[in-house]
Each structure stands twice: as C-alpha cells, then as structure tokens.
C-alpha cells in the first residue's frame, strides 16, 4: 500500500478507535513496589558512597580527579574562610543529576484565564527589568548560542485591578531559529540545541518530574543556593528496524532553583553538563564563573 493511501485510510478509520486511543490510560501493575524497592536500595548504597566520597573531598580541596570528566565544581559552603575560591568536586552522575522521568516531556495543563476577568499585557525589556529588578539574561551564554528574537518581551496576565497573576518570562538561547522565531532542530539529532530560562516571582508551573520521590531528590549547593539538576538521555529516531535501537541519544538537562526570590527553571538540550552549570553559576553569582 502507498503511504499516502494508508495515511488517508487512517483518517477514515472509525471514531471509536481514535477515542479508545485517546482515552487509554495504562494500569499500573501491582509489581511497581518492586521497582521502587530496588530504587530505594540503590539509593541507600549511593548515599553511603556519596557520603564517604564527600568526606574524602573535604580533605582534598582543590584536587581534581582526572578520571571523572563529567565532574562539576560547585562552590563550597559559606562557612569557608579561605580567601581563595575553593571548589568541591562533585560527581554529577552520582549525586546531583537526578534522573528525569519520561513524563517530563508530557504536555502540561494550561491555566485558562477568563478574558472577562483578566487581561494580557505585553512587557518590554524595561518593564521586565523593573519587575524582576535585574536583566534576566545570564552573564554567561555558551559560544554559538544566540538570544531568541522574543527575548526582549513577555506576555503577562493581570486581573482587572491590575494585580499580576501570571508573571512568567521565557528567554531562549539556541543555535539557530526559524523565520517565525522558534528554535531550529539540528540535522544530526532531531532536537533543539541550546537552553531556555523560565522565571517567575509568583511561582512556576513545575512540569519536571524526577524518577525519585521528591524527598529523595538531591540538590547542589552553589553559593548557598540549592540547585536541583536533572538529566535524561533523550533518544531520537528513526529506530533501527532490526534492533529497535534509536539513532542516538542527546543530553537533556534541567536546573531548578530560587535566587533573589526569583524562581528559575533552565532546560538545556544538546549542551554539555559543564556549560549548564556555568550558566546556572553565572546567574547566581551575577558574573561568569570558571568551572574546573
């Protein structure tokens, strides 16, 4: 059969099949506890390993381990009295990078504001700076990434009394853009390359779901700011007809934190972990920070 005919036929398939596929929700099996128990055991082992490693690091400040290429330098605690910047090296893959659940990419429900009661307002860059008290562009942006055309403006929502009820501002930094301003996908991996920053003072709609329960998610301390990093190796197609393996994987990182009463969520595709951490550090410190 020709693909166009098949496609046309799929449009002719009766509604009940569409409905069934739209309303289907998987039933969780009773064996879910086994998976979580195993996860808990692994976590317990991890915690022990991490604890022993941290103790060792505290005695070896400034020493870089050559066999850990993915390690991240985070700032030490504020109790450090040394005049020099002393870095504690932490393994992101073991501690700070929480695995992101597959549902992280699911559509988030949108809040609908009744136009009879609320109104949309466009903020320009000056209005954004006045509200947030600073320019939200991070001091560090990796080479090759460009600011999105829409970065200078934001659409917020106020009630009829002028009170702001939705203050989310989105900034994008990607390698290239389509004519309509949306980030282009790369040719090798069908995904965006770059990162976005979403900020809010009122509160973001968190749609990043981690594999671990909330009370077990690890955070990284960067200059006193608790940052939650997430990671997922995202597969991209087409999938091999024989082995069913994807064509490859690209890195997806998420960083979430609150700094100066502003909630941040950074979503990065196809850039290195170190670059993501540099972006986060530059926001927290207000200037570019060297990562060893």
């Amino acid at each position: 059969m020709k693909t166009s005919l098949f496609s046309q036929a799929m449009s002719e398939v009766r509604d009940k099949y569409y409905e069934e596929a739209a309303s289907f929700e998987c039933q969780r099996t009773t064996h879910t506890w086994i998976k979580w128990s195993a996860t808990a055991v692994c976590l317990a082992v991890l915690v022990l390993v991490v604890f022993s490693m941290q103790t060792e690091y505290l005695h070896q400040q400034g020493v870089t381990q050559p066999d850990k290429p993915n390690d991240v330098i985070a700032n030490p605690s504020n109790h450090d009295t040394s005049p020099q910047t002393i870095a504690i090296q932490i393994s992101m893959s073991d501690i700070f990078l929480n695995d992101i659940d597959i549902k992280a990419t699911a559509d988030a429900a949108r809040i609908w504001y009744d136009p009879q009661l609320y109104r949309d307002i466009i903020w320009d860059k000056v209005a954004i700076i006045n509200y947030y008290g600073k320019d939200l562009t991070p001091p560090y942006v990796p080479d090759g990434l460009l600011a999105a055309p829409g970065n200078g403006a934001a659409q917020v929502i106020t009630d009829k009394d002028g009170n702001i009820v939705e203050d989310t501002v989105w900034l994008g930094f990607y390698h290239a853009y389509d004519e309509d301003g949306s980030p282009k996908l790369t040719e090798d991996a069908t995904a965006r390359k770059g990162f976005s920053i979403t900020v809010s003072k009122i509160g973001l709609l968190h749609d990043c779901i981690y594999l671990l329960p909330e009370n077990e998610i690890k955070t990284s301390d960067i200059n006193g700011v608790e940052v939650t990093f997430g990671y997922r190796a995202m597969p991209y197609g087409p999938y091999d007809a024989e082995t069913h393996e994807p064509s490859g994987y690209y890195d997806l990182y998420v960083a979430e934190f609150v700094c100066d009463d502003i909630e941040y969520q950074i979503l990065a595709n196809q850039i290195k972990a170190e670059e993501v951490v540099k972006v986060v550090c530059s926001i927290i410190y207000g200037e570019e920070v060297a990562i060893q």
Binding site: L5, V13, Y17, W112, D180, Y239, H244
Partner: protein, 185 residues
C-alpha cells in the same frame, strides 16, 4: 464542560463553543498537528482551520465522540499543509512514521493503487479488531495521532524499546493480514 454541552453550544451558534473546545482539547489538537507539520506556528493555524471546519459542519453533524471527530479534521488539514510544504524540509514525526509503514508495504500488487482509502480503512479496522487493546492503542497513537515513541511509552506504561518492538510486530502482522485478505497467501 461535557462534550454534549459543547455540541449544544455549536447548535446554538454560540462562539463560546470554540472557546470551550480550545480549553478542553486545544493542547491535544496542537500536539497532533505539530507531529505532522513540525512547526508550532503552522500547527496553530491548522487547529484554527479545524475549528472553522467544525463550526461549518456542526450542525448538522452531531459527533460523538467529539474529540475523535475534531482530531480527524485536524489530521486532514495538517496533512494537506504537510504536502504543500517543500519535500526537502520534511522532518516530522509523520515522515518517520510513514517511512516505517512504507517498509511494511505488501507486494507490488497492480490493483493496490485502486483500493479506495475507505476500503482500506475497513480492512485496517478489521485488523485492529484482531489486536489486544494495548497493541491497538499503540498502533493508533503512532499512525493516527503520530505520537513519538516516548509519548506512547508513557501512555501505555512500556519502555520506548518495547514500543518499538511491538510496533514492528504489529506491522509484520498487518502485512500478513493484508496479504491473506487479498488472497495472496
């Protein structure tokens, strides 16, 4: 709002019907369209065109289920948009999904081109009835809703690889089924 209430608004010729439709199913329609046209701006336009088509056809149509009815309209409009685009720019979930099906095509039967889409749709429906519900959903999500493997995996509670394996088996099964029905085996 319930589907029946939305349809009632259509029958009253109230524009509120479109708003309610958008609130309830807007993200679903946009995702479906985006999977085909691979551009959010165009997806938005396709969905708006679908709303207009719904406005023109309801009444007299009184679709039940409503979501499936509009999904089909969105799908058809998005496919038209897709085929209008330059072939070189095609890079959507739809392209990949159709490449998969192309590999599952049956023998070069000279009469296959004459098979009407509607006839084929009935054949596909008969085939779908032979599948367990989960496989049926996986097939429909992939080739009707054009979902990515990761989205299907989330919905049906399987790994992406498992979804890939199942889809391969379903395609092979469909090929055998079509050949059998055409009397070629």
């Amino acid at each position: 709002m319930e589907d029946e209430e939305i349809i009632a608004l259509f029958f009253q010729r109230s524009e509120q019907a479109i708003q309610e439709l958008e609130i309830k199913y807007g993200p679903v329609f946009r995702k479906l369209s985006y999977n085909i046209v691979s551009n959010w701006h165009e997806a938005e336009e396709c969905v708006n065109d679908a709303y207009l088509a719904a406005w023109k056809t309801i009444p007299p149509a009184k679709p039940k289920p409503l979501q499936a009815y509009i999904c089909k309209i969105v799908r058809n409009i998005s496919l038209k948009c897709y085929y209008r685009k330059d072939a070189a720019k095609r890079n959507s979930v739809y392209t990949v999904a159709m490449q998969e099906i192309e590999a599952a095509r049956t023998s070069p039967n000279p009469v296959e081109g004459e098979v009407e889409a509607r006839e084929l749709a009935r054949l596909i429906e008969d085939f779908l009835d032979t599948l367990p519900i989960k496989d049926r959903v996986i097939f429909m999500r992939r080739y009707a809703y054009l979902d990515a493997y990761s989205d299907i995996a989330t919905r049906v509670g399987l790994s992406e690889k498992n979804v890939s394996v199942r889809l391969t088996r379903i395609r092979q099964k469909m090929k055998r089924y079509v050949l059998k029905r055409e009397g070629l085996v």
